[in-house]
């Protein structure tokens, strides 16, 4: 699903990612950990084509990112569901419209859109906010809209950047259940997270630990969480 070969990325002279090599098979569940500023979001942005691959090679869902033309980026993104760290939802559209957007963009029929959007909104406990404009939602509600939008397309690959930062423990656990459902249906998931409680929920997941832009051995406490 994902093949990275000596991928590096710099903002000016600041190397946010250095020599990342990584293979992710279809159906894997990957946790991306690391300190604040370690490069997790940068890696995600490379994977969904928001940053260009300038050094190294990267293949995602069959698209060779280092050769990708601008026109192909939408096609790549249609294979993915992305939960952005800062949500990136449209504040003056309703929850329904925001979630439906991911399907509208893919030119789907209205009835299919309706069915799938309602199902996912219900799954994430937002049914009584369906027609509320998103700028009126609480932080956690907005985050769930972002998650819903990434899931509604039934993607091959979900990239979730810190998807539970604004959610309380129980809701996080519930959401992890939803993610795990997708996982059992074959979706590859890459999730950046800081929370140890989240790590604990998927014991068979692989942990990729970034430190200063390099892949490192995860520190003790993370390994012990996964083992427990």
């Amino acid at each position: 699903m994902i093949h990275l070969n000596r991928l590096s990325y710099s903002f000016g002279s600041n190397w946010a990612l250095k020599d990342i090599s990584l293979h992710v098979e279809k159906g894997e569940f990957i946790f991306l950990t690391g300190h604040s500023g370690a490069g997790k979001t940068t890696l995600m942005r490379l994977l969904y084509g928001a940053l260009p691959v300038k050094r190294g090679q990267a293949t995602v869902a069959g698209y060779e990112l280092h050769k990708l033309k601008r026109k192909q980026i939408p096609d790549l993104r249609r294979e993915l569901g992305v939960v952005f760290q800062d949500f990136k939802i449209l504040p003056n559209r309703s929850v329904y419209e925001n979630v439906a957007l991911a399907l509208t963009v893919r030119s789907m029929a209205k009835s299919t859109i309706d069915k799938r959007v309602r199902a996912i909104i219900r799954a994430l406990g937002l049914e009584n906010k369906t027609y509320i404009k998103c700028h009126k939602l609480s932080g956690g509600e907005q985050q769930r809209v972002a998650i819903a939008r990434s899931m509604v397309v039934n993607p091959k690959l979900i990239l979730a950047d810190e998807p539970t930062g604004n959610l309380d423990f129980e809701l996080s656990m519930h959401l992890m259940d939803v993610f795990k459902q997708f996982h059992t249906h074959g979706t590859t998931i890459i999730m950046a997270t800081h929370s140890r409680e989240i790590l604990r929920t998927v014991p068979d997941a692989k942990v990729i630990h970034l430190d200063g832009g390099k892949i490192c051995e995860p520190p003790e406490h993370i390994l012990s969480e996964m083992a427990s």
Binding site: P74, D75, R77, F84, N92, R93, A102, V105, S107
Partner: protein, 293 residues
């Protein structure tokens, strides 16, 4: 596919409602600058018409011998009014002339200076011919002049050949000046409308970014924006023309009093359509450009 296009166009129209203030501000700016352009064109059109009326023509004033029988000159006036190229004929009987003169002097009865001159008023006719820009005009005018002079009872004919120069000059001027002015006007409208629309799209930058991030293709994002831009341009210029039309009807006769006699006329349809089309296209084009950046 076609239904999708219609859906996107519909979305473009509905999206205008999502940013009411930005769009109202834009609309007002577009309307106002269109109105200014329309007014400019309107002024030019009317000045042009007025000047062509008074300048782009040759006038000949015919004086009949005093004492010519009313019947005789009346018959000649009828014939004259059928002359080729004639635009206007104004006739004055000796009585008319005296009346006008005394009116112009506010009814004062001091015509001493006139009687001193021992100059009894003559019947006159003022003939205005429109000038066709061309080389043969001088000859044509002199030919006409000598024909008029040979008419029976005619005393003299006044004709100022300078007027031909003037008319030719104005026509040439119009040709050489009107296009640069319209071009400049177009530039101003384009820059103001274009920049305002681009500015209003800056308030939607995040939205456009998000659409790209969830996998929208270029045309999916652009079509609604183009629709919105076109609609803003069309609405703005329509309101401008409508306002101008209302103003024209209201002020039609504001200059229509002696001695000006200027009746304001509305822009000809082709100029209206040009304005509507231009502003609409500018709206579309600048939406298009705005998304590229």
């Amino acid at each position: 596919m076609i239904s999708l296009i219609f859906r996107l166009i519909g979305r473009g129209i509905r999206d205008l409602g999502l940013h009411p203030w930005a769009n109202i501000f834009t609309l007002v700016a577009v309307t106002m600058v269109s109105l200014l352009a329309a007014l400019f064109m309107f002024t030019l059109h009317n000045v042009n018409q007025e000047l062509l009326k008074t300048r782009g023509q040759v006038q000949m004033q015919i004086f009949w011998q005093s004492g010519t029988a009313a019947e005789a000159y009346n018959r000649q006036w009828d014939k004259l009014s059928k002359l080729d190229g004639l635009k206007e004929i104004r006739t004055f009987t000796p009585d008319d002339a005296l009346k006008h003169l005394s009116e112009a002097l506010n009814g004062e009865d001091d015509f001493a200076w006139m009687k001193e001159q021992n100059n009894p008023l003559q019947p006159t006719a003022l003939l205005a011919f429109s000038v066709k820009a061309g080389v043969e005009n001088d000859r044509w005018a002199t030919d006409l002049l000598s024909r008029l002079k040979e008419l029976p009872y005619v005393d003299k004919v006044h004709y100022n050949p300078l007027q031909i120069d003037l008319a030719k000059g104005w026509i040439g001027l119009t040709r050489s000046v009107i296009w640069p002015i319209i071009g400049f006007l177009g530039l101003v409208v384009a820059l103001v409308v274009g920049n305002t629309i681009r500015l209003s799209l800056m308030t939607r930058k995040d939205e456009i970014e998000i659409l790209y991030l969830v996998g929208a293709k270029q045309w999916f994002i652009r079509l609604p924006l183009l629709t919105g831009g076109a609609l803003l341009g069309l609405t703005g210029s329509s309101i401008a023309l409508g306002t101008l039309y209302g103003a024209q009807i209201f002020f039609e006769d504001v200059l229509n009093f002696p001695p000006l006699f200027i009746k304001l006329t509305f822009l000809p349809p082709d100029q209206c359509i040009a304005l509507l089309g231009a502003v609409t296209l500018i709206g579309m084009f600048s939406s298009f450009v705005a998304v590229r950046g």
